[in-house]
């Protein structure tokens, strides 16, 4: 499915979602959002798709330890975590652990 723009286009960021979360986004695997911090991006994502909340965040609003968020090539845990700024044109990749074999 093509990236779906429901927020600011061109100046936006792309968020790609793992297979296991796509049931919470009606099958969408890429979403465009406006730039900001990782936390703002995740909050906007959850606002649009509330079922993502328990899959992404703990009760303390931290990213689950079985979920990784990459800003382009780098894991945000090794940047500034949720406070990491996401600039227009950058990509957030959300990964969730899978164990199939």
């Amino acid at each position: 499915m093509a990236a779906t723009s429901f927020d600011v286009k061109r100046t936006g960021i792309t968020v790609s979602l793992p297979t296991v979360m796509q049931s919470a986004t009606g099958g969408r695997r890429e979403v465009e959002l406006c730039s900001g911090t990782v936390e703002q991006a995740l909050n906007r994502l959850i606002e649009a798709f509330p079922d993502l909340l328990p899959r992404l965040l703990t009760e303390r609003k931290q990213i689950h330890r079985f979920v990784n968020v990459y800003l382009d090539n780098e894991d945000i845990r090794f940047l500034q975590g949720l406070d990491t700024p996401v600039l227009p044109g950058q990509q957030l990749t959300i990964l969730s652990a899978i164990a199939g074999g």
């Binding site: 793992p18 979920v67 990459y70 090539n73 990749t93 990964l95 899978i98 199939g100």
Partner: protein
């Protein structure tokens, strides 16, 4: 070089000398400068353990054997079933119901008689993990559950064995190499496993057969690169594959200084089964009522005698219904049912079931939130076949 011990094996052991027949067999490798005679001898001296002879393990075992790995360990406690054959290419119609380790051994013997196969017909556990893994130089993980993956990771780190990891779901694959000296481990990538409801297995979520071959092929390539000491390894990189888009990507993978296993202040010192400790918002999963297969069988008998009244709904897909179903049920696919359940009679008790219990639990949760009297069959139709009608098909 990671495998100094292999160098010793080669120089000290005449067994890694290649016979003319072996030279003929491996000619295509021998003419590659990246492998050549030294690399092929290292492969012969290598002892590789493949965990799981399933979707990933099947092609991995075949390519490792074909490549000339001298000793291949296979650990699996399962038997070959028809529904495995869509992707588990080492097995076949003629080995149905055979132990997977035996079926794999049979196929490997045909593929490369110079490869010795060591069968471990067991499930890896905290108790046997160290003893099994310590016999090998390297581990290729084709297991299908988080418990085994964390066990293998922890054992590989503690025993200093490189851990070639791969996993698949539907059209998606991931792979990397962990537990090399100074490199990250699996816990650096995913410190905790997800709770079961957020991590569908291939059995539940499905897997595209050829994706297994792609991911396993990457794992075998990485294993061979480590053994022959050539190429740029996936160590410190995460390989991602989306077959539906024909896209591959890599991401940087760092060693986590706070890793509980390999960080600067480790808290994991022994091999133990990992626990699901992560917290999921409590209100997202209220408990739902369950019914056992035997209880359902007696209630169905009473219903036939007009002594009980309930609606039995099968929430699986039509193809699953065609394979096996419980007599007296009605097919009501999960997706359809969740869109139209408000039309169900609110006064009637409802029992739902699926294959293993996950989908029916979801349905029961939604229905109970909308005030229906509902329970779901614990263990799904698989439990029904196991406990009530063992002559029926499973998949």
């Amino acid at each position: 070089m990671i495998f100094d011990n292999l160098e010793r094996c080669i120089s000290e052991s005449p067994e890694s000398v290649l016979s003319p027949a072996e030279l003929q067999r491996y000619a295509r490798h021998l003419s590659m400068k990246e492998i050549g005679l030294p690399g092929q001898r290292r492969l012969k001296a290598a002892r590789v353990l493949v965990v799981g002879a399933g979707g990933l393990g099947s092609p991995a075992l075949m390519y490792l054997a074909a490549a000339g790995v001298g000793t291949l360990g296979v650990v699996d406690d399962d038997v070959v079933e028809v529904s495995n054959l869509q992707r588990q290419v080492i097995h076949g119609q003629s080995t149905l119901q055979m132990a997977k380790v035996d079926s794999a051994r049979q196929r490997i013997a045909d593929l490369n008689p110079y490869t010795q196969v060591v069968s471990h017909r067991t499930r890896l556990s905290a108790e046997n993990c160290r003893q099994i893994i310590s016999q090998y130089d390297l581990v290729v993980d084709g297991s299908d559950n988080f418990t085994t993956r964390y066990l293998v990771n922890d054992a590989c780190f503690l025993l200093h064995k490189p851990y070639v990891w791969g996993s698949v779901l539907q059209f998606h694959g991931q792979a990397s190499v962990f537990s090399t000296p100074g490199g990250p481990c699996y816990r650096c990538l995913y410190p905790e496993p997800p709770p079961p409801q957020f991590a569908p297995s291939c059995e539940e979520g499905g897997v595209f057969g050829a994706v297994c071959a792609t991911v396993a092929s990457v794992q075998v390539t990485e294993a061979i690169k480590l053994i022959v000491g050539n190429g740029e390894s996936l160590v410190r990189r995460l390989w991602l594959y989306d077959a539906s888009r024909a896209e591959t990507q890599t991401r940087q993978l760092r060693k986590d200084p706070d890793c509980e296993l390999c960080g600067s202040n480790p808290t994991v010192h022994e091999i133990a089964e990992v626990r699901f400790t992560c917290s999921v918002p409590a209100d997202s999963h209220p408990p739902v009522r369950t019914i056992s297969a035997t209880e359902l069988a007696s209630r169905l008998a009473r219903r036939r005698a007009d002594e009980d009244d309930f609606l039995l709904l099968d929430v699986r897909e039509p193809f699953e219904w065609e394979i096996v179903r419980i007599e007296g049920a009605q097919l009501a696919r999960k997706t359809t049912l969740l869109q139209s359940h408000l039309h169900l009679p609110i006064e009637q008790e409802i029992i739902v079931y699926c294959k293993g219990g996950a989908r029916s639990e979801d349905v029961a949760r939604v229905l109970s939130q909308d005030s229906f009297r509902v329970s779901h069959l614990k263990g799904g139709v698989l439990a029904w076949v196991s406990d009530v009608e063992p002559q029926l098909r499973v998949y």
